[in-house]
Amino acid sequence: MANWIPLWLHRLSSPPTFYRFAGTLLPWAMTLTVLLGAIALYGGLVLAPADYQQGDAYRIIFIHVPSAWMSMFIYAVMGVASFIALVWRIKLAEVVAMESAPIGAAFTFITLVTGSLWGKPMWGTWWTWDARLTSELVLLFLFLGVIGLYRAFEDRRQGARAAAFLAIIGIINVPIVHFSVNWWNTLHQGSTVNVFGHSKMSWDMLWPLLTMTLATKFYYAASLFRRVRTDLLALEGGKDWVRQIAQGEDTP
């Protein structure tokens, strides 16, 4: 009954098909990113009231928390794609895993820096070796490790397989980041937003946060599509479909 799904997936995972598919979706993802991002910024910086405890400093939450969620989400995507790449040797899965790493590293870096800028006025320190902060820093090192290992090999596909292995091992860190505020005593506040239940946040603060979360999801899709397309051209450099694109397209 569901026979069409593997066939459809198989077709989509062929590099020229995915190249066109990603190229069609890219402008839409980028438009949604900018639109939702602008709405979220207006809601978060202008419409939302100041926090009764933290004043206006809490407004860092509208970028800090979505970035932190993205750092874990992207790591999970990278881990799953790495697993598919190692088990089924699908070229597209390798590319998705390897091109997710720089985007994940970017979001993890943003999380750490914005968290530091938030921590200074609220906790009185830029940094502390607490469970949440340390595990997020480990996440950054894992992303950087995957990027570094991938680039350390002369052969790109061999490098991708080695880095995919590291990505799979490192996935153990994702639940550690998530549950660190519950498992250990920490300076970092617990979760305010609960997917299955009552969020401890008023709606006029919550909606900009959720809108920005959606915007970062679309951002990831757009950035990933852009990167994967370039990578597929590089990997399939000698093939006919690449020749047609390279010779037919003068502007990107």
Binding site: D56, I60, P121, R157, G238, I245, Q247
Partner: protein
């Protein structure tokens, strides 16, 4: 004007809030631009390679002659 000033002051936390937003935008814009530059460079290289190949092709007589790098990739995959 006054409303704008109080908005920019961020209740005294301007020195923390605005740098945080600046980092967010700078990092993401850099992440958007870097792959575009890479793509342009790659397309230039590919065009140059195809141009070299098409001048060589009449002598080789084989339209489907792969480039050295793609041959390495294909060989590596089948092994």
């Amino acid at each position: 004007m006054n409303a704008m000033q109080s908005f920019l002051a961020m209740g005294g936390y301007a020195a923390y809030v605005w740098p945080a937003y600046a980092v967010f935008f700078i990092v993401l814009i850099a992440d958007t631009i870097a792959p575009r530059l890479r793509r342009q460079r790659l397309l230039r290289e590919l065009r140059a390679r195809f141009a070299r190949q098409s001048t060589r092709q009449p002598r080789a007589g084989n339209g489907a002659s792969p480039t050295p790098s793609s041959a390495a990739i294909d060989g590596e995959r089948t092994s």
